[in-house]
């Protein structure tokens, strides 16, 4: 793949705040340095692989080399005979010891059987078939190589569309087909619109490819099944432990309160560390069997082939009704979402895309016929931007294809169809409520940042010069819907008893008057310790330095609800909402105690510098340490009513205002916030080679009120890098036997510093009316670069040609330029009235 070496453009728009806030000035809104940084910079973080325990063994998985094969026999005897081997585990054994995992899908998809190790047959290359626990990681690996598995190879099904045909090999016999779930989303009157529109643009086929954001730290867990207390201690980097508990507890047949989760630092997750409960189950069984702690740290090659990938989606038969003035009435499409061999988090993707059904647009007539399909490939996990980015990519492709096929200006078509700033809160045809935004303003700003007019002039000049190079300018408008209403799961399976969302936090004044906050969130680099300290510090009148934030999972702290974790762009709403609620409750207690002692009314008191004083009479004051001492160590001196009323230890659960969406109409408030991002990308293509270089890249994001602008900007950069990487160089592909072709970082081309554009960014806050601080979740970013890079390549190649794939490596770009009849064979057609 080409490694772009652009002349990077610097921007003065970068956020460079580094002035420490004035004493007592609110820290929310300031880019204060992160509290997490010191330990991470000094090599003192605690990642899962950093934990060592006495008598601990190491786990190695035996994986299927075949994509689809009946398991005839598994013989672990040679492995078990090795010195230093503590225990082995086979699929049959796991089937006897555990129940199959619950499924989200209704029947028939719900009858899929999933255990921690393959039972009966292997369904993807890399699926764990057996596991070994041994004294060292090397011995475990050696012994695993001695496990003998006899396979009978079966035919494979790998194509997301062909797998739905009756002649495709069945991946799960009990499901009866390879369709795990299907549903039609239909709003407005698409057939009427297609009949009455001035033009109908048809796009027969679009393909969103498989990739993974590959967190730099692989999955890992240390499990100690302590038999005396029957407690299962799990230190892991799983990013949503309570979701994992929902699978682990019934599978293992244990109470959820036996599962004690813990995590500290996590080396990135991006949604891909949600489904590691399968591996954790096997590690737990081995720990119990050998009666010793068991550690599992995944190798990168195992991570790529055996953990999870992002969803691959094929869109067929797209039809778009368009009026002569460029108004797009909506679209109709069939989507095949290839989730690989097991459903696990799926088929939630089958509803989550509908959070952003019309994209940023006022489309009124919409139909998506959606299928979750099963193949002999690695299962998927909710990779950053999950399910919305695939859908939003299609929506942006539609807009660009409409513009190019009808000879319209892509900026004008977008502006003609965007929801306008005065329409917020905006209700979509499927009942979602977009909270706030200014899409027109943000598009203008990003075009200004990237110097759109200047690049258009350079593009024309280059075209005239016959230099063998072409420039293209692309736009991507995208949404990052955050804070999900879990009731949307009922649109998939109406029996599921889920709805709403929430997060817990405990804010406490400790024995010496110190403030601490325990969170239920499980951050992986998002800076929760810092932003929480900012919000709590402001509430309690102390600097963020004074607030100790306990982030990461810890069941023993009791700061969790079923939704706890870090996923789906929600911390700024749910996590901050919980911390703020707990801090306010604590503040009330502090004021109650101080009011009683200082003989004042709570309203007369101010909190500054960990001291409560009477306004205008600063000598009447009490420090937090004095308050803590009174409540914890001197309560005989307190009036009994007061002593009974305060604990200085307040747990608060934030709950967003959701009801239950309607499964019949597939509509309702599916998410609370809609952050938006507008990307503008300039590429240069070398005609002779297809080499594609990003020359310039600008992003404007809108995520309500930023708590820490620098952290927000960091998330924008990170999500943008993932998108550019996926669009140009990262892809997971299989050969005809179902072998992954990109199983190491040699073949999976992760972007590095010189390949990543120096993004120019700006932020236009439009506070959310629905959230505690006006902030919106924004970490996923909505896959903007996939839209913008495809848009830019199509623009560079020229009129008529359609970019139909989300992944455009050199060879595909070369084809688009040099053999457009081939590249565009599935392009588009226009039927005009």
């Amino acid at each position: 793949m080409s490694i772009p070496t652009p002349t990077p453009t610097r921007t003065d728009e970068r956020i460079t705040t580094w002035t420490p806030p004035a004493p007592n000035a609110p820290s929310v809104g300031q880019s204060i340095p992160r509290k997490e940084d010191r330990r991470l910079l000094q090599g003192q973080g605690l990642f899962t692989d950093d934990l060592w325990m006495h008598r601990m063994g190491h786990v190695h998985f035996v994986r299927s080399p075949h994509a689809h094969a009946r398991i005839v026999d598994v013989d672990v005897s040679r492995a078990e005979a090795q010195p230093g081997v503590y225990a082995t585990l086979t699929g049959e054994e796991a089937r006897g010891l555990t129940d199959r995992y619950p499924q989200i899908a209704p029947e028939p998809g719900g009858s899929m059987k999933d255990w921690c190790l393959a039972v009966g047959k292997a369904r993807f290359a890399g699926e764990p078939v057996a596991a070994v626990l041994a004294e060292t990681r090397e011995l475990a690996r050696d012994a695993a190589a001695l496990v003998e598995v006899e396979y009978e190879v079966l035919p494979v099904t790998l194509d997301g569309v062909a797998t739905t045909r009756p002649d495709a090999p069945l991946v799960h016999e009990e499901v009866g087909s390879n369709v795990g779930w299907k549903g039609v989303y239909e709003f407005g009157d698409v057939d009427w619109a297609l009949e009455h529109a001035d033009h109908v643009v048809r796009i027969p086929h679009l393909h969103f490819h498989r990739f993974s954001s590959t967190p730099l730290e692989c999955n890992a867990a240390v499990v100690n099944w302590e038999q005396g207390t029957d407690t299962i201690h799990i230190l892991s980097n799983n990013q949503m432990p309570q979701f994992a508990a929902m699978y682990l507890a019934p599978a293992l047949g244990v109470r959820t309160d036996q599962l004690q989760f813990r995590s500290q630092d996590i080396g990135g997750a991006f949604g891909l560390k949600l489904t590691s409960y399968t591996n954790i189950t096997a590690v737990a069984l081995l720990s119990r069997k050998a009666n010793r702690p068991a550690k599992w740290t995944e190798y990168r090659s195992e991570h790529l082939v055996g953990s999870c990938h992002g969803n691959e989606r094929t869109f067929e038969g797209i039809e778009v009704p368009v009026m002569a003035d460029g108004q797009i009435l909506g679209f109709s499409a069939t989507a095949y979402d290839d989730v690989g061999a097991f459903m696990r988090y799926e088929p939630l993707g089958g509803v989550i895309f509908s959070q952003v059904l019309p994209g940023c647009y006022r489309f009124q007539h919409l139909r998506v016929d959606y299928r979750t399909v099963i193949t002999n490939k690695t299962p998927v996990g909710p990779n950053r931007g999950y399910s919305r980015l695939q859908h939003l990519w299609m929506v942006e492709r539609i807009v660009d294809v409409v513009a190019s096929q009808l000879g319209l200006d892509p900026v004008a078509v977008r502006k003609r169809n965007y929801i306008s700033a005065d329409q917020f809160p905006y209700e979509t045809p499927n009942g979602c409520l977009y909270d706030s935004g200014d899409y027109h303003g943000a598009l203008d700003r990003v075009l200004e940042l990237v110097d759109y007019d200047g690049w258009r002039a350079r593009q024309a000049a280059l075209r005239a010069s016959g230099s063998g190079r072409r420039i293209g300018i692309g736009i991507g408008s995208t949404l990052d819907s955050g804070t999900s209403n879990f009731g949307q799961a009922r649109l998939i399976n109406r029996e599921l008893q889920y709805s709403g969302n929430g997060e817990a936090a405990i804010c406490k004044l400790d024995l010496g008057g110190e403030i601490s906050v325990a969170l239920g969130t499980v951050p992986q680099g998002q800076g929760h310790e810092t932003t929480t300290a900012q919000v709590v510090g402001d509430t309690l009148g102390v600097s963020p330095d004074e607030v100790r934030v306990l982030a990461g999972a810890d069941s023993a702290r009791n700061a969790y609800v079923a939704f706890s974790g870090t996923y789906a762009s929600q911390f700024a709403v749910t996590g901050i909402g919980a911390a703020l609620g707990a801090a306010r409750a604590l503040r009330e207690e502090i004021l109650m105690v101080a009011a009683s002692v200082l003989e004042a009314e709570p309203e007369e008191l101010t909190l500054v510098g960990a001291t409560v004083s009477v306004e205008g009479d600063e000598d009447r004051a009490m420090t937090f340490a004095q308050i803590a001492n009174l409540v914890y160590a001197n309560n005989g001196a307190m009036p009994p009513e007061l002593a009974d009323a305060v604990t200085l230890n307040r747990r608060f659960v934030y709950r967003p205002p959701f009801g239950v969406p309607d499964w019949r109409t597939k509509s309702g408030h599916l998410t609370l916030t809609y952050a938006s991002q507008f990307h503008a990308c300039v590429v240069e293509i070398e005609e002779e080679t297809g080499q594609t270089t990003v020359l310039d890249y600008a992003i404007v994001d809108e995520c309500g009120t930023p708590i820490n602008p620098q952290i927000v900007e960091g998330q924008v950069h990170g999500a943008a890098a993932h998108g550019v990487a996926a669009a140009l160089q990262e892809t997971l592909e299989y050969d005809e036997d179902g072998q992954l072709l990109n199983g190491t970082f040699w073949d999976y081309h992760v972007v590095s510093a010189p390949d990543t554009p120096l993004f120019k960014t700006d932020n236009l806050p439009r506070p959310s009316p629905f959230t505690p601080t006006g902030s919106k979740g924004m970490g996923e970013g909505g896959g903007g670069p996939l839209h913008a890079v495809c848009s830019a390549i199509q623009d560079a190649v020229g009129p008529g040609v359609v970019v139909t794939d989300s992944h455009n490596p050199t060879e595909r770009v070369w084809e688009l330029v040099n053999e457009p009849s081939v590249g565009a064979r599935e392009g588009a057609e226009v039927i005009s009235r």
Binding site: P33, L40, Q42, L216, T297, V750, A753
Partner: protein, 163 residues
């Protein structure tokens, strides 16, 4: 086949150290498991990611691509040498926090060691040289922009930044 063992002696972050290592033991495992210096991380098994970068005899190397026995007699510096817990951050670490050049922090120790070697070696660095100089280190969180700015900032302060 039984593992062979080999005694080694080396200097680790300025202090003499010794140990007995297995013939097939990787240097990164010796650093993490035997020396207990857990700041050096592992992000791949193919030498591509740079999370394991340390400085051996003045050169940044990937410690997963060497056997521990090869480090016999060498001068090894890990991230823990830059500043100790409780001490002030060194100049580069300070620039990383100022520019928000780390998120999850998993790549950070390797990135710091590569950048330390890059800054020590060069007389002058252009922006492109900084970007290329960090090519061996993958960061999946930051998109590199702020890492490049942090290194640029230190280069500027040391009079090593060229246009």
């Amino acid at each position: 086949m039984a593992d062979s063992s080999h005694p080694i002696e080396l200097t680790v972050n300025g202090e003499p150290a010794e140990g007995v290592v297995l013939g097939r033991q990787l240097l990164v495992h010796f650093i993490r498991d035997t020396l207990g210096l857990r700041g050096t991380h592992i992000g791949c098994d193919s030498g591509n990611c740079g999370a394991c970068t340390v400085i051996v005899d003045g050169r940044a190397i990937k410690s997963c691509m060497q056997l521990a026995v090869q480090a016999d007699g060498s001068d090894l510096r890990t991230v823990e040498s830059l500043s100790a817990p409780g001490e002030e951050l060194d100049e580069l670490q300070g620039a990383f926090t100022k520019h928000h050049a780390l998120q999850c922090g998993y790549c950070t120790p390797g990135m710091l060691m590569s950048a330390t070697a890059l800054l020590d070696d060069a007389d002058a660095l252009t922006l492109d040289e900084i970007r290329r100089g960090l090519k061996g280190n993958i960061c999946r969180c930051t998109g590199y922009v702020n890492i490049v700015h942090a290194v640029e900032d230190v280069a500027e302060r040391r009079g090593k930044r060229s246009a």
